[in-house]
């Protein structure tokens, strides 16, 4: 049933990366349970503009759960309480009247706050830049059907490739580790015959890069898996580990 609810929001405000942040309290009244979480923030922002106050900055773009741009920590949960859902797809019907909602940015050493809830996730691009690809130039590719790929393998690769790069795995990991992100990319590419060729060099480079960037170490807490809006499985981390061991001890790659 659609109804209106009143909420108290405690939102992290931070003017710039090098400034001190603090929580500020906002009232969001008469919020329809039919709208999305980000639309609720839109309403709060519209009110702030009319009051002449600086709006709450938050990243978002596609608002249909695929671009990976949105994300904040809602009452201790990245992307909010609903499983398999990005923040933009979270709707207010999952909240109750007079609830206090605490909204924080994703936190990890490599995710510097740019403003309020906006963080810099360039480190994830850095990881892809570090061999998160197959080295093919445009042109000269063989026919798409030249190498048959078992359906099961293609599906597994697709499972891994469905990562949207939102960074919620890092945000939810008690250790701020990016191993689900790395594992998903390594799995996606090393499962496919096209990507196998460079598998050893790729896994070594990506793991090293993740360490150098300052992400934490994976200790198999599984928080990433339950938080991931695309429900990417930690099987991919196991595959990453396996690929890493293979690359270390069975290949000439360093």
């Amino acid at each position: 049933m659609i109804k209106n609810i009143n909420l108290t929001l405690k939102i992290w405000r931070q003017d710039a990366p090098d400034k001190e942040g603090r929580f500020e309290t906002y009232e969001a009244n008469e919020i329809s349970t039919d709208i999305s979480f980000l639309e609720m923030l839109d309403i709060v922002n519209e009110k702030l503009i009319i009051e002449g106050k600086d709006i709450i900055a938050f990243d978002n773009d596609c608002r249909e759960g695929i671009c990976g741009m949105c994300g904040a920590v809602i009452n201790g949960r990245p992307h909010g309480p609903q499983r398999g859902t990005t923040l933009c797809q979270l709707h207010m019907r999952h909240f109750s009247d007079n609830e206090v909602i605490i909204i924080e940015p994703f936190r990890a050493a490599p995710f510097k706050v740019i403003k309020d809830l906006v963080v810099d996730r360039g480190s994830l691009d850095e990881l892809i830049k570090t061999y998160g690809y197959i080295s093919v130039n445009t042109g000269g590719a063989p026919d798409g059907n030249a190498i048959p790929i078992p359906e099961e393998i293609a599906e597994k690769a697709m499972d891994a490739a469905s990562c949207i790069g939102c960074g919620a795995c890092v945000a939810s990991c008690p250790n701020a580790s990016a191993m689900l992100f790395v594992g998903a990319k390594v799995s996606h590419l090393s499962l496919l015959p096209q990507g196998k060729i460079e598998a050893a060099r790729r896994v070594l480079a990506m793991v090293k890069k993740a360490d150098n960037i300052g992400f934490g170490n994976c200790t198999n807490e599984k928080e990433c898996e339950v938080t991931c809006p695309k429900q990417v499985s930690i099987e991919n981390i196991a595959r990453l580990n396996r690929e890493f061991i293979k690359a270390c001890f069975c290949s000439t790659a360093k």
Binding site: N75, C218, T219, R239
Partner: protein
């Protein structure tokens, strides 16, 4: 200076994890052997002492095993501390509210703390039973003496609970870390892990109760 490739592997995040997994798994094997040995306590004084004598007659092998255990303990604890330090550093600003999404277990979320506790426990345990003058008393006497103190009994039972919790995460983690993850077998491995931790917990935990009541 360019690091040796092997050192580099071991110091990478997965390398550290591997070291934790391999040493941890070795401790699981040790625990198994230790438990089997300790079960002889149920057989009474002479049965137990004959086991002890047999064990000690292995001589140099025991010394090697002890050195290995010590080495593994250093690695396990050292890596554990390093992981704890690095992982704390990876999130300099903590969340105001931290809620688990259901991935963590009691075991996984308390690893550093149960680990620290077990480290202290092992030191005490060694001082209780290993670094003692065994000239005057048999080891059986030492065990029964200590376990006649209800405080020690309670403490040992508690400690064995902690071991079980620590192992409950550690066991399946080994397989995950080594990449031995298969959709068909992983549920089985997880169940074995739970069963193993219960067996270890109850197996060791019951001994003090038995000794204090019946010996």
């Amino acid at each position: 200076m360019k690091k040796n490739w092997f050192v580099e592997i071991l110091l990478s995040s997965i390398g550290k994890k591997l070291l934790m997994a391999i040493t941890g798994f070795s401790f699981c094997l040790f625990l198994t052997a230790h438990l089997i040995g300790n079960l002889t306590l149920y057989g009474g004084k002479f049965f137990f002492l004959s086991y002890v004598t047999r064990l000690h007659s292995l001589g140099i092998i025991i010394n090697i095993a002890e050195i290995c255990l010590l080495f593994m303990a250093i690695v396990h604890i050292g890596m554990g501390c390093l992981l704890f330090y690095e992982n704390t550093k990876a999130r300099p600003i903590k969340y105001a509210i931290k809620v688990s999404g259901g991935g963590r277990t009691i075991g996984s979320s308390t690893m550093p703390y149960t680990g620290l506790f077990l480290f202290l426990f092992i030191i005490m345990h060694l001082f209780n039973f290993h670094f003692v003058d065994k000239g005057e008393k048999t080891i059986y006497k030492i065990v029964t003496d200590i376990l006649s103190n209800p405080f020690y009994v309670a403490f040992y039972i508690f400690a064995m609970g902690v071991v079980a919790i620590h192992v409950s995460h550690g066991f399946w983690s080994v397989f995950q870390t080594l990449g031995l993850n298969h959709p068909k077998y992983m549920p089985l491995i997880k169940n074995i892990g739970i069963a193993f931790s219960i067996i270890i917990g109850i197996g060791f935990g019951f001994i003090p109760i038995y000794i204090s009541l019946f010996a």
